[in-house]
């Protein structure tokens, strides 16, 4: 949204920019109207009914004035029949006109939100189909914005559309009627409508520029306030309270000045746009009186013209809003379209092949480079037999996590091959991600998993104690509105998830580091009891965890530099020894 503001304020040639945007807006409308054409047509029909009834109501008024009011007061004649007809006309047209509004507004809303739904669904399908690599190169907030706020923005142009079309219909119909009744007044009206319309649109565009400027200042202020309050410790420790206040006051003053500029423009235009139609109306009265004098027009017709003219002023005023929606809408659509027009990347999981029997993982000459080119994994090979429990040890940032993600098929290697055995892979991430749903959902993730398997997983992952303590057990909702779990508990839920999915290969990414050593030992021992069925590869940093593994893979310089038992490695590798000590140091700090 900020970028929209920037564009419209700073663009060098506002006119050509506005024109191309208008063109883009037309394209956008043409495209999204097709999503739900039936709803849109109903909305526009309601709008047309409203427009026709508006003009008709002034004709009804003319009839009442000429046939009822003037008859009674100028000729002092009562005509109960005419009064009844007149009342019926006014009420009938009024109700019909209101009905038109109800139809127009409710179906315009339907069109807008159903279209938003369609667009959001499409964006979601697209986002979900994209591989992890695509997601990692973007901010979560940005993707969410494109699915939500931007989709909503792109359809916001739809809501005022039926109304705007009804204004057009109204202008045409009333001009035609006025011309039919009286050429002179008709011509005046025909000239005046477009002038008023463009005046309103021009004003709206101008005032939007001021508002955008003010909005930008507000953004700056909000950022500065965040920063300043975040840094309150520094502000206090250097005694800079007054300096900071003065700095923020400067920014606030800019916001105030921008807004006062906007008020100056707005107050002038509001007054002018109020006065001009009234002045024209006064002129119409004089002109009309001349026509009445010459006998070309009745008093009722004159009054109904003035009435119609007053009725039209309001729609003419607010049609300007349609034009202020355009930049917002177009910018939203652009961002949505960026996602929709991007080809879906390939799924790296499809490139993982089946390993020979008895082999759980076989990796050959694997390499992987980050986007900026530095190789994290460089010519790595390894082989793990089925049923083994293996520890992967290496310095922070040496590529252990990347290796696990490659093995799970989340990332695509830049070279080499990976094959894993039958029965699938379950990865427990370093940071457990829990969904704001029930505990049960968090374990099954929507897959059909029998209850006893879930229960067993809960036991193995040492979740039993806190799950039983929850009043609603597995049906307890997690997250913001539900129960919040500690880091260790979250990790154990993630672990239970992996175990419940019953895959042949279990990958644990430093999962147990959030647990106390005793719980950790229980979990690992439980996992070992699964041995023979499940192969476990665990990224570990605690000597106690490492010691539980059958074998240790020592990762350095992008490959497996050594392997053996913990004690063997401690004895023969000074680098390994140093690393284990560094881990302990770090732990002490915390």
């Amino acid at each position: 949204m900020v970028s929209v503001v920037d564009e419209s304020v700073t663009s060098d040639s506002p006119n050509s920019e506005a024109k191309s945007r208008l063109k883009e807006a037309a394209g956008l409308i043409a495209k999204i109207v097709k999503f739900h054409p039936r709803l849109f047509v109903i909305a526009v029909s309601g709008a047309a009914l409203f427009a026709v009834c508006t003009v008709a109501s002034s004709i009804g008024l003319r009839w009442v004035i000429d046939e009822v009011i003037l008859v009674r007061f100028n000729e002092n004649r009562s005509d109960a029949g005419a009064l009844a007809i007149g009342s019926a006309i006014i009420i009938g047209i009024g109700l019909l006109r209101a009905f038109g509004v109800v139809i127009r507004r409710s179906f315009a809303g339907k069109t807008e939100w159903r279209t938003a739904e369609t667009i959001t669904d499409r964006v979601l399908d697209h986002v979900v189909a994209q591989p992890v690599k695509w997601h990692r190169s973007r901010m979560t907030g940005d993707i969410v914005a494109r699915c939500g706020i931007d989709s909503d923005a792109s359809v916001s142009i739809l809501a005022p559309l039926p109304f705007s079309s009804s204004v057009l219909v109204m202008m045409v119909v009333s001009a035609a009627w006025m011309l039919y009744v009286d050429i002179t007044l008709g011509v005046v009206a025909v000239c005046v409508f477009p002038i008023l319309l463009s005046l309103n649109i021009g004003y709206q565009r101008r005032i939007d520029r001021y508002y955008n400027q003010a909005q930008k200042e507000l953004g700056t202020l909000s950022e500065a306030v965040h920063e300043s309050f975040d840094g309150v410790m520094v502000v206090k420790s250097f005694g800079a309270e007054q300096r900071e206040t003065a700095r923020l006051a400067d920014i606030t003053a800019r916001l105030r000045d921008a807004r006062i500029d906007a008020v100056a423009i707005r107050s002038m235009f509001e007054a002018m746009l109020d006065a001009i139609p009234t002045l024209i109306n006064i002129a119409l009265i004089v002109l009309g009186a001349l026509r009445v004098k010459s006998g070309d027009m009745t008093v009722g017709e004159l009054s109904s013209f003035i009435y119609l003219f007053s009725l039209l002023m309001f729609p003419l005023r607010i049609i300007g809003y349609l034009f202020s929606e355009i930049p917002h809408s177009v910018a939203g659509w652009r961002r949505v379209n960026e996602v929709l027009s991007e080809p879906i990347g390939s799924d790296p999981a499809l490139k993982i092949s089946r390993s020979p029997q008895d082999v759980a993982i076989q990796i050959e000459n694997l390499s992987y480079a980050h986007n900026h080119g530095s190789k994290v994994i460089d010519g790595l090979s390894l082989k793990v037999m089925k049923g083994e429990t293996v520890a992967l040890v290496g310095a922070t940032g040496c590529g252990k996590t990347t290796l696990l993600h490659l093995m799970t098929g989340l990332l695509e290697p830049s070279g080499g091959s990976i094959s894993v055995g039958d029965g699938g892979v379950a990865l427990v991430f370093q940071e457990a991600f829990l969904f704001a749903d029930t505990l049960a959902y968090n374990i099954t993730l929507g897959a059909e998993i029998p209850a006893e398997r879930q229960e067993r997983a809960i036991d193995i992952a040492q979740c039993r104690e806190f799950v039983d303590a929850l009043e609603t057990g597995l049906d307890t909702t997690m997250g913001e509105r539900g129960v919040s779990l500690s880091g260790g508990q979250r990790q154990r839920v993630a672990l239970a998830r992996a175990i419940a999915h019953d895959r042949a290969l279990l990958l644990l990414d430093d999962t147990t580091s959030a647990l106390d050593p005793a719980t950790e030992a229980k979990v690992i021992n439980n996992l070992r009891s699964l041995a023979g069925r499940q192969t476990v590869l665990v990224v570990a940093s605690r000597p106690s965890t490492i010691a539980l593994a059958d074998e240790v893979l020592f990762m350095a310089d992008g490959r497996i530099s050594d392997r053996g038992t913990h004690d063997e490695l401690l004895r023969r590798s000074p680098k390994y020894q140093e690393l284990i000590r560094a881990f302990e140091d770090d732990r002490q700090k915390k």
Partner: protein, 597 residues
């Protein structure tokens, strides 16, 4: 201040608001008069029509001269009214902007002076929204709601007066028939607000669901579990659309209800008028005028009903703003400050106790964080505070820095009670380097100058070279002008600490309080930090909140805290020899870092 602002009535809240920002109410009377004059333009057409029909267009007697004269008078009225309207809108807007400016600046100042207890993470967001979104609700109110009260209010009064002057019976008929509209609108309005609340909730749910789908994408992919989650998100999308559509339908009924009432009111007026006839003194012109006036009269009602809610929101915002201004500020400033001695600032704590729940509104009075602390730290000593988290070491350092005042007891510096020391002087003589140093999204030079705004370039470079950081600064793309990014994000954690140390050195303080960082830094940064720290602490009193025992081992004196009490106090060697708590922790650390299990 005796009474919490939360219990103020609306009128009292608004009054307090005017007190805080007098510009809001200054000259409001004149503005109102201008608005009344401005709304006269709206009745010009009905009156002109009435006059034209009654006096200018009598059957068989059309008096163009009269009509032209009247048109000229009407046009002049419109122009005068429009100038008045312009002035009214402008005055209201400028007054509001000036008033809200004052309010914001008062808030900034006040919030910066609030104690750190009011600046915890949970409250920070709230404080930010006080100065941003809460004041914005007031801005919104002044640019629309207040305008509606002012302009439409005066319009209704003027229209009602004109109606009554034409014919009081017809006027009463008009009021009576249209009165229920207010209740219909209020009712629909309430439903609409409720419907939009639901839509907003559904929207939040939708965004929450999409965020999960996106943020959890790796987990979902690892378990091929996208489909159910995607289905859930799409359900949320549908639910939100349904709620929006429902709200839209209510709005669709609300919007034309004014028209419907206008139609019935007009018919009632016409029928009553016709029934009463010429003899009642009614004229054809005033009948037509009534029809026009009815629309003018009903127009503002719809807006009023909307504005009622907006006004409530604005008052609630104002109430929250005043609530912050009523929160007492942190350590109050010394009224009659005493000067600190020029050198050798001894730190002394006498019978110091502290608890965070000194605030009146908190119910739970938990245990004091510090209890009966008596300490003396001579000038130039290097002290390490050691203890588990929650032992009170951070609080102790804060009391010495006067980021908070002790609940009981006193802290003095060079023999002067901290409460009597001017804040400016204290901040020159004592500097705190927090655990996670905060940097502004500016250049390194700018961040250094935060400590000393008038420092010359040369001084910056001197400090840099004293701390042996010249090499590091040279290695950066733009040297001292390198931008550090949001909260210093373009620098590593270690580099941020380097900037914080240089910043502290620039004030050349007598006392340095260091909250040691816990986050890991790479080896090169570690070496640089150690060197810079050594250079910085040379010749100063240094109090380190030690998270690493290696730091404690290097200090002149180790103070071990436990549950808010000083458990042990002595040199590293002395405490080891004593074989107490410190010796135990140290032994644990040693064994854990050796390679043997």
């Amino acid at each position: 201040m005796n009474e919490p602002v939360g219990r103020f009535t609306t009128a009292k809240t608004i009054n307090r608001g005017f007190g805080v920002a007098p510009a809001l109410s200054k000259g409001i009377g004149v503005t109102f008069v201008l608005a009344v004059v401005g709304s006269l333009a709206r009745v010009v057409i009905p009156v002109t029509i009435q006059q034209t029909i009654d006096k200018g267009l009598r059957p068989g007697d059309v008096r163009i001269g009269f009509i032209v004269q009247m048109a000229i008078v009407a046009a002049v009225c419109v122009m005068v009214a429009s100038v008045a309207l312009r002035q009214a809108v402008f005055r209201l807007g400028v007054g509001a902007e000036n008033g809200l400016y004052t309010m914001r600046v008062k808030l900034f100042e006040h919030i910066h002076r609030l104690s750190l207890a009011d600046h915890n993470d949970e409250r920070r967001g709230a404080l930010v929204s006080r100065v941003t979104s809460d004041i914005e609700t007031l801005t919104m109110f002044f640019s629309w709601g207040a305008l509606v009260w002012l302009l439409d209010g005066s319009l209704m009064v003027v229209v009602a007066c004109v109606m009554l002057s034409y014919d009081w019976i017809l006027a009463l008929v008009a009021f009576a028939v249209s009165a229920p509209l207010y209740f219909v609108l209020r009712n629909l309005q309430r439903r609409l607000v409720a419907a939009y609340d639901i839509a907003r909730e559904n929207n939040a749910e939708l965004l929450g669901s999409i965020s999960e789908l996106v943020a959890g994408t790796e987990t979902l992919r690892a378990y091929q579990a996208h489909a159910p989650m995607l289905r859930k998100s799409k359900q949320a999308v549908r639910k939100r659309a349904d709620a929006q559509i429902r709200a839209g339908v209510i709005g669709a009924f609300l919007f034309p209800s004014g028209e419907v009432f206008a139609v019935f009111t007009i018919v009632a007026i016409v029928c009553v008028g016709i029934f009463r006839g010429v003899d009642s003194g009614l004229t054809a012109g005033s009948m037509v005028g009534f029809v026009f006036l009815t629309y003018r009269f009903l127009e503002p009602i719809a807006e009023f009903t909307e504005v009622v809610d907006q006004t409530q929101t604005a008052v609630a915002g104002l109430r929250r703003v005043l609530g912050v201004l009523d929160t007492p500020i942190g350590p109050p400033q010394a009224s009659n400050p005493l000067a600190l001695p020029n050198r050798d600032l001894k730190i002394e704590l006498k019978d110091v106790s502290f608890s965070y729940s000194s605030r009146l509104d908190t119910q739970d009075d938990d245990l004091p964080v510090l209890r009966q602390i008596n300490l003396e730290i001579p000038a130039h000593q290097h002290v390490a505070l050691v203890g588990e988290s929650g032992s009170g070491k951070t609080t102790l350092a804060r009391l010495i820095a006067r980021l908070a005042d002790p609940t009981i007891g006193s802290v003095s510096l060079g023999g002067v009670n901290l409460k009597r020391v001017a804040n400016d002087e204290l901040r020159r003589r004592l500097v705190v380097v927090p655990q996670e140093p905060f940097l502004f999204a500016e250049s390194i030079a700018h961040n250094l100058k935060f400590a000393a705004p008038h420092a010359e370039r040369e001084e910056l470079e001197n400090v840099i070279s004293k701390l042996e950081l010249t090499d590091w600064i040279r290695s950066l793309p733009d040297g001292l002008e390198t931008q550090v990014g949001q909260r210093g994000a373009s620098l590593s954690a270690g580099e941020r600490q380097l900037v914080a140390l240089a910043r502290a050195a620039l004030t050349n303080p007598d006392i340095l309080i260091l909250d040691e960082a816990t986050s890991a830094v790479d080896a090169i940064a570690e070496v640089r930090l150690a060197k810079a720290l050594q250079a910085l602490s040379l010749g100063r009193t240094t109090i380190s909140i030690a998270h690493r025992l290696s730091t404690a081992a290097r200090a002149d004196r180790v103070i071990v805290l436990e549950h808010g009490l000083v458990k042990e106090d002595g040199t590293h060697e002395g405490l080891i020899a004593k074989g107490g708590e410190y010796a135990k922790i140290y032994a644990q650390w040693l064994s854990a870092t050796s390679s043997q299990k």
